[in-house]
Symmetry: C2
Subunit: 307 residues, 2 copies
Amino acid sequence: MKLNNIETNLLDAIANIKDIPEGALNIRKDGQALARSSSSNISITSMSDKPGMVVEVKSDTVNESVHVPVILTQPGFQDKVYNTFIIGERADVNIIAGCGIHNPSHMSSRHDGIHEIIVKKDAKMRYVEKHYGEGNEKGKNVLNPTTVITLEEGAFAELEMVQIQGVDDTVRSTKAYVKANASLKIVERLLTDGTQSAESTINIYIDGKNGSAQIISRSVAQDDSYQGFHASLIGKTECLGHVECDAIIMDNAKIKAVPELWAENSNAVLTHEAAIGKIAGEQLIKLMSLGLTEQEAIDTIINSFLK
Amino acid sequence: MKLNNIETNLLDAIANIKDIPEGALNIRKDGQALARSSSSNISITSMSDKPGMVVEVKSDTVNESVHVPVILTQPGFQDKVYNTFIIGERADVNIIAGCGIHNPSHMSSRHDGIHEIIVKKDAKMRYVEKHYGEGNEKGKNVLNPTTVITLEEGAFAELEMVQIQGVDDTVRSTKAYVKANASLKIVERLLTDGTQSAESTINIYIDGKNGSAQIISRSVAQDDSYQGFHASLIGKTECLGHVECDAIIMDNAKIKAVPELWAENSNAVLTHEAAIGKIAGEQLIKLMSLGLTEQEAIDTIINSFLK
């Protein structure tokens, strides 16, 4: 199978894919599987009752990856998909997801990805999801990811969720349940410009003793864009939780940050810190004294901030 | 006029008053003025249309104080009062408010104090409000303060709001409007024990260029008590705002902390930090190694934390 230019560009932007990769894979294009392959340890099967797939990683599978990117190229396409990921006990895998939209039209393209992730006892998972849109007409690119993740005893998961550019509207919802001795890290990095709007709500319930969770949010809002960030850490037992939220605000943008700590047990230790501000003048001057233009200096600071 | 023992104890607890103090004064007892006096610069007059008073400080009044404590001694008394404070331009004064309830009954005693404070151009005000309840029967002591404060250009205000002990239920609401070059500091310190409940909501709108605001919240929740803290900083222009929230959680207590930063302008710099946790074991051990019992060590740590 050969990918066309548009497909290759989108897949490269969201998942660093230049060509169909080896191993377990599902590329969803405009609501259909463009390519699908299972490996001996990772099976990908269709949902029986609704659009979507079940990715099941066998116990003890280590050093394997699964690519599950989604692309939308048909103008005005509205896609909704339900995906379930089950990571077997003691497995250690990477999931590369992401969604790219190419929409050179006046109609809105939209992808709603509803993900359920279960990381079983003592398993480890790193999950990367990049969102990207392109198209120079008025059609909006809309991406609404919903993720519910459960970390069973001793499990570890790191979720990296990035909005690179070109997403006009996003409502992001992430819920996590952290059991005993499990550890969750969520890193969210969002860039908005123009009149884009991004709302992200993250709720983490630390249910199990010695569970821990960390949320790191980095956002840059430019032009007339808006970003809202709501993060709740609910500590129901002896546990550790931390929320960190840093935002760069520019031009006429607006940013709202609402972290919520909910200690329901006196052995819960919950902390957060946040800062919203513009790029520091000294940083700009320093870079400009090295020969960069003001715009180059701004870009450099933003890029390193969102890295 | 002579104060009885109950009155003296309450006034001492909330306002350090051993006897009727000099200067402008209003002591409200069970809905009536027990004592009232104006000074040449500070007038206290009754509200014309509702229960309460207007405290008006003349421009350029400096180094003066006004005491306006409230006490409830009649079991089951329900008091609601509207007070307005107007601090004249360039004045520099202290206001000592506070409410103490003595309620040895099975009925609920309740005081709702609705305060409007206007700190005029370049004026300075320090406002201290202590809340205290006593009585060993089942009657609840309820204190619901509502404060709306406006800081005009270049004004400075510091509000210290403290709940010492014995307040079974409180719903606290504070709204502030900070104009150009004005500076507001709010310090709130709450202790709850037993089955007490405390909810505090603080909304600060920084409207004026170079306005600044700082909220410091310290809370200790013991036994089965609950504390909820909601603080919003809304930066509408070039301004500085900071929220700091530290809580010690003990026994079966629950604490919720929700600071909200709302940057509506790219020159707004808003930050917050929060931590909820129990008393550090090392701190206890250190104090106990100096000869304190565990309870004495706990009390020492809590007292210094709430200072």
